[in-house]
Subunit: 276 residues, 2 copies
């Protein structure tokens, strides 16, 4: 492994983590392991053709049965950006980043194509097709994110576009059966506010062999992760209340804890997703 990749590995799992057993490394792996979320951007134009580059990367991701059930929407208008930033809980980077992309689970195009051919498309009403479109959109978006980071750009996903799905759909002129799954900010990182690599759960917690392992086997590793994250929160002055375990559990304690996103099913129904 390169020194840089080893350093990323150490930050990802904490310095107590076992050294990786793999020897392979290359610029791709180094770039993947070095991901961090960037929320502060420099006001500096992106290279010409960045959008086309990211779309080409996105379209190179696998798509289930090549149905290509996703679209991407680029928002540059300053006023629209400002309104989307508000809808996403007041995230200023939605307004300030160089490129703001909305990743759409899109059952509309195939439905319109079927209608154009005089064919039925009742299959689109089923949950399966929604899942397929959401997965297609996520795979595409992740390829775009990896491409952006490879040329030194910073990125962060905006899941909070799901806080007000109908308002976001109205802002973006989405027809029925198109769902703004999440946003993506892209831009040059502000050099005065460098972002850090966020530690993740030990591999043994997320990796299961042959069959799903019982929760009890993970308790020690989860406690170790809480200690690792406690140091990370302090170092980054994140002001997080309590341990990772505590505030993560709090995020799903009740419908209220979802801060409006408990309405998603009703919102999707009103947007033409039956989810049978």
């Amino acid at each position: 492994m390169s020194n840089r990749a080893l350093e990323h590995f150490g930050e990802r799992y904490g310095s107590e983590g076992a050294a990786p057993r793999f020897e392979q490394w290359n610029p791709v792996i180094e770039s993947l392991l070095g991901h961090r979320s960037v929320r502060r951007y420099a006001q500096k134009p992106l290279p010409e053709g960045t959008l086309e580059l990211l779309v080409a990367a996105a379209q190179s991701a696998p798509s289930s049965s090549n149905l290509q059930l996703w679209s991407v929407l680029s928002v540059q208008d300053a006023e629209r950006r400002r309104r989307l930033a508000e809808l996403a809980g007041g995230q200023a980077h939605v307004r300030d980043c160089g490129l703001f992309l909305v990743w759409l689970a899109d059952l509309r195009r195939l439905g319109d194509l079927a209608s154009h051919r005089g064919a039925e498309h009742e299959g689109l009403e089923y949950l399966e097709m929604f899942v397929m479109a959401v997965v297609d959109a996520a795979l595409a978006a992740q390829n775009a994110l990896v491409a952006a980071e490879s040329i030194g750009l910073g990125t962060v996903y905006i899941g909070a576009l799901r806080n007000h799905p109908e308002a976001v759909a109205a802002e973006l002129g989405l027809p029925p059966r198109v769902f703004a799954t999440f946003g993506l900010c892209v831009g040059w990182p502000d050099p005065s506010a460098p972002a850090s690599i966020k530690p993740r759960l030990p591999q043994e917690v997320v990796l299961h062999n042959e069959q799903y392992g019982a929760f009890e086997r993970s308790i020690g590793a989860l406690e170790a992760y809480d200690r690792l994250m406690e140091r990370f929160y302090a170092k980054e002055r994140m002001g997080v209340q309590g341990s990772w375990s505590r505030h993560s559990a709090a995020r799903v304690a009740s419908a209220q804890a979802l801060r409006g996103r408990d309405r998603l099913r009703a919102a999707l129904a009103s947007m033409g997703f039956e989810l049978r």
Copy 2:
């Protein structure tokens, strides 16, 4: 752009496609643009530590609020592989590939963690948390795929694990609130059966500016894509009946066209996903 990346670009969009406007390229972009699905594998062991490398790449992907609502399950047992291949519609590569990974949308771990702390976790019953987990799993999987391809391994996703969700869950010992979203085959490509880069829709079809564009503006580009795919099907001897438009529309014509996946909602309900 490198010659290799330009070549990938030409295969992705057809030689009539406009040359890309971006000058940037690097080994990451070259690797992303060069993706192809590999379904025939050489019987040759993977490098030591490949699994840990892929999991490190997967965990380096963004995760919504760092809740890490996904797990991955590695299946090596030959009999279990054989049974999963059958459940996935008889796909021999599930049996024959070097590494078979199942990507899990996992609301179980956080629920167990909350219970362990004596906390409620009613928020997990909502569709929002299911979407979050599916997206988390897809982002993680795509990073693993990109890492695997960067070292020369071939890959293909197996969405057909959703054909029989309960049987797959039983085979993998999944507890309630864990959903096998899709599988991933990884292995050395069989050099005697090289795979090709699959053309995708013209960028103008999937990319929208400021607001979602009407279907009518895409009709010409969709027809051009049908012609491009017709040549691809012939060249690859794929035996596809009719145009891409025709057989894609046929895939969603009715509940029956979903080949059992119209049951997904009922299956998920029986697996502990209320999706309120």
